[in-house]
């Protein structure tokens, strides 16, 4: 591969100038990026060097008439494969029954995420559609053009007379062919310099409300396989023993009793803990109970969350270590303000808690190459990490990008945790011995990489007329990027993922200051669906609501009066309010709340209705959501992501919390860490604001507004803002 890349590495794709190329593969037609592969090139590279991924393309049409789409973006349930396939199919005019989407990897030039300059292949930040918008439509259009050219030559008719529909190429003379019949000939056609894309008014797939996901059937009959379901010759299962506290190290361990158990294959020390390898999961779990480990806790984090939050609260009252935004003169504005609202917000650690606990499988092959199966959300990084642990080079690591039972950020982990465990265990077992490392729920809950805990010290002032003259937010908490491979994104002491959602506050507030103090705590943290906006949106949107109440203004009108320069924010807010019937009175005992937030360039407003009750305080009955994510590619999936984001966010603010005592995590399973259940799910209606702007993401932006919208409804009912999360635990004593 390195030889291959060195020949072509002067060509780099950019968002503006993107040209496609095509070539013959053993399979048929492959359309990728402008690298015209001669068959001899492929033969040479595959024999001369191990080629981790020989089919580095976007779209391949096989002689068997399959359309295989190689996705640069990872599928974790959010529908990125479907979205990318929609872009290809819009231009290619194939039949959805032909489509397979698989995870591509191993070529940053081809698969690098354009939202981040193409520097690495990675999925995150709700960027899958914006990164894919042009490249996958171009790939589909180029493949179609080549099929048409091949047919024109074969039938000796002008290309302009050829029609393509539902996977069939045809001519008025009665000639017709399937894509697969033309694939080989198409691969030999000259590649057009550029291919025109369909104009918006000709779209049949993009924006279609009736188009359904191609991958649902396998998710209703048990056929869809995930990493946990892998089966292969000789596969063993390993379960992990992790340190009881973050930072603790293995002093010694005794596996004698475990190894004596029938079916235990080996007990292996990895850089991250002990792997107990057995012939099946149950045997490995029984063996795990028999391993005796002595831990060295000298470097371990010994604090509990109570101490950590007390330190954060204290730090929040001091000056911030760094300033992320400073408009006007906040101290002077506060000095002359008529009314001031201030307080502290507390946000707990949160767990991603995907239902498929983390896992990965690896095999060191006889020739020294490595196969790694898993939820490869960051393929470039995982290829490099696996190579390092496996004692080889990245080009010798073959990745198998599996479907995954959720991620919410957890599968994009900068230290490649479970990949390292799988590869090092496979290496210890020896060549030709595949092993699957399967975490239990307890490993997953206690294994770290949480949404960091934060404290916000906020202060806001109104003038005599009830205008917001100043707002100050000092955020205290750990940095997700600090100490990671992405630490370079931290500039002037500001990790942008700690302050996003506060620094881009859209309201016209003349004096606005956002400060950040990054803390040093040895609890591993990570991005968690919508990242900084998981806490910033709650703080600023409940604060704005309190200010509206203090100014005796309607919460919707109050916000709109400060959004003159932000029409997209204003539009979603108006749509949500109108569809919810904001102006209409509610029945006795029912209350409304509203929140508005832009995250990752998508604008979302929620209006919620709650009912107070004696049983557990209140119930969220209804959510009306309005979203502007630019061009809507799959409207029904946009709705699905808003619904799911609302349920995910609602569970978190109502009742999710990870605590530690003396450095030990207090929650191990879903009995004590409690995501939303069906009886708590409100009725949700989603309204998509029409737009012709380029598409932005929907995987994350549905999460942030639900929390503050519910808190604002509760304040409407009780007069009090809940500033300490989760809500249910912290609302005792509140009465309407």
């Amino acid at each position: 591969m390195s030889q291959f890349l060195s020949k072509h590495n002067s060509v780099r794709p950019t968002r503006r100038r993107f040209l496609v190329g095509a070539g013959v593969t053993t399979a048929g037609l492959a359309v990728g990026y402008r690298l015209v592969l001669a068959a001899s090139d492929i033969a040479q590279t595959t024999t001369a060097k191990v080629q981790a991924n020989p089919f580095q393309t976007y779209v391949e049409i096989t002689k068997e008439n399959r359309i295989i789409i190689y996705s640069s973006q990872f599928e974790m349930g959010q529908g990125s494969y479907f979205g990318i396939a929609t872009l290809v199919m819009e231009e290619l005019d194939g039949d959805w029954a032909q489509v397979d989407v698989v995870g591509g990897y191993g070529n940053t030039a081809l698969y690098g995420n354009l939202a981040w300059g193409g520097a690495a292949q990675a999925t995150g930040g709700s960027t899958s559609m914006s990164s894919s918008w042009e490249r996958y439509r171009k790939a589909g259009a180029a493949a179609r053009a080549l099929l048409v050219a091949a047919a024109a030559q074969r039938w000796d008719v002008p290309a302009g007379e050829i029609k393509v529909a539902s996977g069939v190429v045809s001519h008025a003379s009665g000639m017709q062919a399937r894509y697969g019949d033309l694939a080989e000939a198409a691969a030999g056609m000259p590649v057009p310099d550029d291919v025109p894309l369909k104009p918006r008014d000709k779209w049949a797939q993009i924006g279609s409300d009736s188009l359904k996901r191609y991958d649902s059937a396998g998710k209703t009959n048990g056929a869809q396989t995930y990493t946990i379901d892998l089966m292969m010759e000789g596969l063993q299962t390993a379960v992990m023993i992790h340190p009881p506290k973050f930072g603790a190290e293995i002093e010694s361990f005794d596996a004698t009793k475990a190894k004596a158990l029938d079916g235990i294959v080996d007990v292996v020390q990895t850089p991250r803990g002990i792997a107990v390898v057995g012939r099946d999961t149950w045997t490995a779990l029984k063996g795990r109970d028999l391993v005796e480990v002595t831990w060295n806790e000298e470097k371990a984090e010994g604090r509990g969350t109570a101490e950590i939050m007390a330190e954060y609260n204290k730090a929040a009252d001091d000056l911030g270590a760094a300033t992320a935004r400073d408009d006007g003169n906040t101290p002077a504005a506060f000095a002359s303000a008529e009314k001031i609202i201030e307080g502290h917000y507390e946000f707990p650690y949160l767990v991603h808690a995907s239902i498929e606990p983390l896992n990965a499988a690896a095999r060191i092959n006889e020739d020294g190459t490595i196969d790694v199966w898993g939820g490869h959300q960051m393929p470039d990084l995982y290829q490099a990490a696996a190579a390092q642990v496996g004692g080889t080079t990245p080009d010798k690591v073959r990745l198998h990008v599996m479907k995954t039972g959720g991620s919410f950020g957890r599968r994009a982990v900068l230290d490649a945790d479970v990949i390292i465990e799988a590869v090092s265990t496979a290496r210890a077992l020896g060549r030709g011995k595949p092993v699957k490392v399967q975490w239990t729920r307890e490993n997953d809950m206690r294994g770290g990489r949480y949404r960091p805990a934060y404290v916000h010290a906020v202060k806001a002032g109104l003038d005599k007329k009830g205008n917001v003259v100043a707002l100050h937010d000092h955020i205290v908490g750990q940095s997700v990027l600090g100490g990671s491979t992405s630490a370079a994104m931290i500039k002037n002491g500001i990790d942008p993922t700690s302050v996003e959602g506060a620094t881009n506050l859209p309201y016209a507030i003349p004096n606005l200051k956002v400060e950040l103090t990054t803390t040093d705590v040895n609890i591993p943290v990570l991005w968690w669906r919508s990242v900084g906006s998981t806490h910033t949106a709650y703080a600023v949107e409940t604060l704005i609501d309190e200010l509206a109440a203090a100014a005796n203004r309607d919460p919707v009108d109050f916000r709109l009066s400060m959004l003159g320069h932000h029409p997209r924010h204003a539009a979603v807010l108006k749509v949500a309010a109108e569809k919810a019937g904001w102006d209409k009175p509610l029945p006795e005992g029912r209350f409304r709340g509203v929140a508005l937030h832009e995250s990752l360039s998508t604008y979302v407003a929620d209006v919620v209705e709650i009912t107070l009750n004696d049983e557990n305080g209140f119930k969220v009955d209804r959510v009306v959501c309005a979203v502007d994510c630019g061009t809507a590619i799959n409207p029904d999936q946009i709705r699905a992501q808003m619904e799911g984001g609302i349920g995910f966010g609602l569970g978190a603010i109502l009742q999710e919390e990870l605590t530690l005592k003396g450095g030990v995590v207090g929650q191990e399973n879903y009995d004590t860490y409690t995501p939303l259940r069906i009886e708590q799910m409100p009725r949700v209606e989603v309204h998509i604001v029409p737009s012709e702007e380029p598409p932005t993401g929907v995987g994350e932006p549905g999460v942030p507004p639900i929390g503050p919208a519910v808190a604002n409804a509760l304040r409407a009912a009780t007069g009090k803002t809940i500033r300490k999360l989760p809500i249910i635990k912290n609302m005792s004593g509140m009465t309407p």
């Binding site: 998710k219 048990g222 995930y226 239902i355 959720g406 619904e643 995910f648 069906i678």
Partner: protein, 152 residues
């Protein structure tokens, strides 16, 4: 040695009688549609039918199923389950899909027992099945739609 019926076929298993049915079905028999989520009967991803009753296979020991009739997602059949599965796909209920085997097994059991469930019936029958993608809104709609279709 334990003998039972699995998806209509008589099977015998010679494993540790304490082994949860979940691991026997997945690792020993090789049917992987039944999922592991918690191991503590908290998430419902491992739901199968034991003599028609929705049961958490992670908390059911192989030693306790002698003579029982077990149905997994691979073996569920009949008009109710076919309709549930079709509506599930039509409504695009699944996101990641991982919990959906369990959701469907619980939904089929509910509709078998209660052909026209109310929202409250659905909430109480499905409460044991977590979905971290929070597809609950569509699960509820899909169960109602299935009930409507089966009625006509």
């Amino acid at each position: 040695m334990v003998a039972f019926t699995l998806n209509g076929e008589v099977r015998t298993l010679d494993v540790d009688p304490e082994m949860p049915l979940l691991w026997a079905v997945r690792d020993v028999i090789g049917l992987t549609g039944t999922k592991f989520g918690c191991g503590l009967a908290q998430c419902g991803a491992c739901t199968v039918h034991v003599n028609g009753m929705p049961t958490r296979s992670c908390q059911t020991a192989v030693g306790d199923i002698e003579g029982a009739s077990i149905t997994t997602i691979e073996g569920v059949s009949g008009k109710i389950s076919e309709t549930v599965q079709a509506v599930w796909a039509e409504f695009d209920v699944p996101q990641c899909g991982y919990c959906q085997s369990g959701q469907i097994m619980s939904a089929v059991a509910l509709l078998t027992e209660t052909p026209k469930p109310s929202d409250d019936d659905i909430d109480s029958a499905m409460s044991g099945n977590l979905c971290r993608c929070a597809t609950y809104h569509r699960i509820r709609a899909a169960i109602h739609e299935t009930a409507n279709r089966l009625e006509t």
